[in-house]
């Protein structure tokens, strides 16, 4: 949650600048954040923090509770490598202090992204080995399941066309 319930859970610089992975803790003073559009946090959960949307095939949009958003693009370059592109969008800083809070959010994003990248490397290395042929996904991995379902549909459709 932002701001965090337990300040001991965030690092010292975050406590001073009131910003971090979830973005600046204070929402920017713009229209449209309260209430949020109906499609964001549709259940109106009080502890809502982020909505994550996937647009087939390679675009993602992540909207954070404190009033900013991220986009991801995934660009496969081979079966075992890819370029990951991320953009962070904030309401333009009015003061130099707001700009510093943005920097902390962006720097923190990079630290977490590099940690997460390691799991992608491990996954791609494993897939390339072909040792594992089945990959279980849980019910909650909706976006990933949809990605593979639609991809399989595309491949099947193409195969049908080729087969005539």
């Amino acid at each position: 949650m932002s701001p965090p319930k337990d300040l001991s859970m965030v690092k010292p610089v975050e406590r001073v600048l009131k910003s971090g992975l979830f973005g600046p803790w204070d929402r920017p003073d713009i229209e449209g954040l309260d209430p949020l559009p109906a499609g964001i946090n549709p259940s109106r959960h009080r502890a809502w923090g982020i909505d994550s949307y996937h647009f087939f095939p390679n675009f993602m949009l992540l909207i954070w509770a404190p009033g900013w958003y991220l986009t991801y693009h995934y660009w496969p370059t081979a079966v075992d490598s890819h370029i990951f592109e991320a953009n962070l969008y904030f309401v333009p800083a009015r003061t130099a202090a707001e700009r510093l809070a943005h920097e902390l959010a962006a720097v923190t994003f990079k630290e977490y992204a590099l940690q997460d990248a390691n799991t992608l490397e491990a996954t791609q290395t494993m897939l390339k080995s072909r040792v594992v042929s089945e990959f279980p996904l849980c019910d909650q991995e909706l976006l990933l399941r949809a990605l593979h379902k639609v991809t399989a549909d595309y491949v099947k459709e193409h195969a049908n066309v080729v087969a005539g």
Partner: protein, 108 residues
């Protein structure tokens, strides 16, 4: 390299006044933990005061000394992960992955 008078004691660390994230991150990777710890020990106690000071300045036509202070504190943010969390300059367990900033924010 001038800083606002209230923060003049940080002038020995003016090498951390760098205009882009790419330069700040490169300096982090090129620095020893001792060098970053020395910078952190000097700058972190002034971060709250610097943040409050910078609240008074808009981003349009930011004066040079205040811009330098902002950039210096951005470097403090960059080294805060090695100092406060990782105990090393590189993000641990990040394998061969790298992430470069190719487009700086329009503001600054």
């Amino acid at each position: 390299m001038s800083l606002p008078a209230e923060f003049a004691e940080l002038e020995p660390f003016s090498g951390w006044v760098l205009a882009t994230e790419r330069e700040r991150y490169a300096k982090r990777l090129a620095s020893s933990m001792d060098e970053m710890q020395t910078f952190y020990n000097a700058a972190f106690p002034l971060l709250a005061a610097a943040n409050k000071y910078l609240e008074r300045f808009g981003m349009d036509n930011l004066p040079e000394a205040e811009r330098n202070l902002l950039l210096l504190m951005m470097s403090l943010v960059t080294v805060s992960f090695p100092i406060e969390v990782w105990k090393q300059a590189r993000v641990p367990d990040s394998g061969a992955a790298y992430l470069d900033l190719v487009s700086e924010p329009r503001v600054l």
